[in-house]
Structures are given as C-alpha cells and as structure tokens.
C-alpha cells in the first residue's frame, strides 16, 4: 500500500515536471516563430498560408448573421441620406461631364506628344475585384484577407479602394489573399507630396494615421497637402492617391488615408507588373 502511494507520488511529480518542461519548450517555440519571421522564412509563410486558406471560409460563414444585422441598420440609416446624396451627385455629375471632355482632349494630346518623344509607356494594369472576408485592426496588426477566387494575384500587388491606395498583397493562397494595410507597422510606401514633389516614405505604426518619414530636413510640408505614391522602388506606380497631411510637428508628420480603412467591403487588387524590390528580394531568397 505504502509502495503504491509512493509510486503514485512519483508519477505525479514526473507529470508536473513534464508539464513545466513542455511550457518552457512552448514559450521557446513562440519566440522562435517570432525570430523566424525576421528572416522571412518560406516554411513559416507556407504553413500560415495553408492555415489561412482553411480558416478564411469559416470566418466568411460566420460573417452572414453579423452582416444581416448591420445591413438592416444600414438600410434605415441610409434612407435619410439618399435625398441629399442624390442632389449632390447630380451636381457632381455635371461637373464630371465637363472634366471628361477635358480629359479626352488631354489624352489625345498626350498620345500625340508621346509618339513625338518615342516615350515607352508603363505596362497595362490588370485588376481583380475582391471581397473582404477577414479584417484585423488592433495595436498589433492592420490587415485583411480578401477572396480572390483563383484569379491571378501576386505578392506585392497594389490594393486600392475607390479613393486611393490602401495596402499591398502580402501572401496569396489560391482563393485568398492576405493584404497588409498602409497603417500596419510592416508597411512602408515610397510617397511624395503631390504639389511640391518632395519625396519620403509613408510608414505605418499600427495607428489609424501613418507617419511620413525620410523627408528632407528643410522640406516644407503643410496640413492639407495631398500625398501620392512616388513610384520609387517599383512596387507602386507613381501618382496613386494615398492620403492627406493632417498634423505637422517637429517630431512627426501624420497622414490620414483618403480611404476609411475600417469600412471597406470590396477592394481592387491591381497588377501593374512593375516587379520592384519585393520580387527582387524573393529571387535573392531563392
């Protein structure tokens, strides 16, 4: 009897020891995963890619009841706005018609001048419209997953909303694409001030307003300045609208994206075929 009890105690102690050991191993595993990310590990990317492919459909099913509720709310709140929106849209339509005439004339002029200069145009852009199925926005990451349904999307493709750049494709898993938003801490976009052409980098910091960094010390940047992509590094083509300067201080310049990043249902993933640094880095990795 005594022997059996002591054996039981030994087993219990062993079990506790094994549990503590397992905990230490798991903590180490978590830290190793973080460090692997620093080296852009291919295995890690592929594993998370497969897992996302499996979980994204589950989230898109869970979305249905939540979407129904929000649709009902939206319907009633939008009824109020429709009348005033209609009036504003008519006025805008008139203005846009005049602009379209001007645009047509400029396009013809541009084509003629390009021919004269023997200008090599940028490759034609192809795009895919995709529905957002997963959203993430907190202190640790700003991203989304979009359903692309086996269409041709590649890492580094530009992601746009109706008002401007919102991010870039980070991972592609057959039917889903993981998008890093411009507010994410890992996002760095070469940009410039539209009027003054001052170049810099728009760096996300997991807040809703990314910072403008690497700008010349004597650069004069004012609140209200429009920020567009500069095309440097070849990932994003030049001239795409990004946001507007909303705060300028001695230490930082904050930019508010043109698009309200938290209210996006569909995105446009555009392939400019520019290649750029992302593809070059991948080739070097291989």
């Amino acid at each position: 009897m005594k022997r059996r009890r002591s054996l039981f105690l030994h087993l219990n102690q062993l079990r506790l020891l094994a549990k503590k050991f397992a905990l230490v191993i798991l903590f180490l595993a978590a830290l190793i995963l973080m460090l692997l990310n620093k080296n852009h590990s291919l295995i890690l990317e592929q594993t998370t890619g497969v897992a996302t492919k499996m979980t994204a459909p589950v989230v898109s099913v869970l979305v249905v009841p939540a979407k129904l509720l929000s649709r009902v709310y939206d319907y009633f709140s939008e009824l109020k706005r429709i009348k005033s929106d209609n009036r504003a849209l008519r006025a805008e339509n008139e203005r846009l018609r005049i602009l379209q005439d001007k645009y047509n004339a400029l396009e013809i002029e541009n084509k003629l001048l390009s021919n004269l200069l023997n200008y090599v145009p940028l490759p034609q852009a192809g795009f895919v419209s995709a529905k957002v199925v997963v959203e993430e926005s907190n202190a640790f990451a700003h991203s989304m997953v979009a359903y692309v349904d086996n269409q041709r999307v590649e890492k580094g493709d530009v992601v746009l909303s109706d008002s401007g750049v919102i991010g870039r494709v980070d991972k592609v898993m057959d039917t889903y694409a993981k998008i890093i938003l411009i507010t994410d801490i890992n996002s760095k976009i070469p940009v410039m001030v539209e009027d003054s052409r001052i170049r810099g980098v728009l760096s996300g910091d997991n807040t809703m307003m990314p910072k403008l960094v690497f700008i010349p010390l004597n650069a004069e940047i004012n609140i209200g300045d429009r920020i567009v992509t500069s095309g440097v590094s070849g990932v994003f083509p030049a001239g795409l609208p990004v946001g507007q300067v909303v705060a300028v201080s001695k230490t930082e310049i904050k930019v508010k994206p043109f698009t309200s990043l938290e209210q996006i249902e569909y995105v446009k993933i555009v392939r400019y075929g520019l290649g750029g640094l992302i593809n070059q880095r991948e080739k070097t990795d291989e």
Binding site: L33, S70, E135, N138, A139, A141
Partner: protein, 173 residues
C-alpha cells in the same frame, strides 16, 4: 459494440467542445464589421476563452488546446507570428499560479481576475512585440481593446458557460 462506439464519439466531441467553441469565438473577432469605432479596437477574444476554460475546465483545455488556438490566431492574423501563442501561454502560466484565488468564487471576483491577468498578459505581449519591432506599438489602441475585452467578458463567458452546462457532462458524476 455500436453503442459503445457512439458513446465514444459523443464523449470525444464533448471533450473537444472547449477548443471548438474557442475557435469559433476567436474567429468572430475577425469578422468585417464596417463600424469605424469597433473595427479599430478589436478585443482579444481568444484570451477570454483561454481564461475561462483553464479556470473552469483545465482537464478539457490542456496546453495542446492553447497551442492549437495560438497557431490558428497566427494563421488568420497578420500580427507577429508566435505573439498570440506567447500571450495565451502567458495567460496560462499566470492563471495556473493564481487559480486558487478564483476557484469557486463569485462571478465578480473571476471578472476582476480576468481584468488583472489579461492586463498583465497584453502588456507583456505588447512589450515583447515592441522589442521585436524596436519601437513602441500604440498603447491607446491596446488599452481600448483591453477595455472592450473586459466589457465583453461577461457576455463571452455566459456563452461558454452555456456550452459547458448544456453540452459537457462531468464524468463520474
């Protein structure tokens, strides 16, 4: 023969319910909401699940469940890989060492316990991730997310308690 097979299936399903319910609740946090305020301060619902199940049913929510939940979060999220797993393990360790303070206590005490332990957990996670990136992540968003998580605890724990009471039977009772 068939009956015992059925019983085995039902029993293993019941045993996996804590993990399954946690997976569903974790994924709920990633649903696109189109609501400006809520979208920017998403709470860590996985942390609530870990706290609830480790406190109430540690026998059915082992380290394996925590690893599965952490890896699942890693696959959906774009946050630093391993950060979620690290947070869940931290919560597990903290709760494991303080469990006797909350066992068989009124709900309010358990809620206060969640407030304290989840604050410690997210601050540790915030520190580790900040060290990784070499700069501090926005603390305001972190705190808002934390407060929303604390506010949601009664609701989420009510759902989990319902799962526990309705579908999980105690063996030997």
């Amino acid at each position: 023969m068939n009956e015992s097979l059925n019983e085995n299936i039902v029993s293993s399903l019941q045993k996996s319910l804590p993990l399954l319910s946690s997976v569903i609740i974790l994924l709920l946090a990633y649903i696109p909401l189109n609501v400006t305020f809520l979208n920017n301060i998403r709470p860590d619902l996985g942390l609530i699940c870990v706290y609830f199940w480790v406190l109430h049913r540690p026998d059915l929510f082992s380290l394996v469940s925590i690893v599965v939940l952490g890896l699942l979060d890693m696959s959906v999220s774009s946050a630093l890989p391993g950060a979620a797993l690290f947070a869940y393990l931290t919560m597990y360790v903290l709760l494991y060492n303080t469990q006797r303070l909350f066992n068989a206590k009124p709900f309010v005490v358990i809620w206060y316990g969640f407030m304290a332990l989840s604050l410690a957990t997210i601050l540790i996670k915030w520190l580790v991730v900040s060290i990784y990136y070499g700069r501090f992540l926005p603390i305001s968003m972190l705190m808002f997310g934390y407060l929303i998580g604390v506010a949601l605890y009664p609701l989420v724990s009510a759902v989990l308690a319902f799962v526990q009471n309705k579908f999980i039977q105690d063996e030997g009772l």
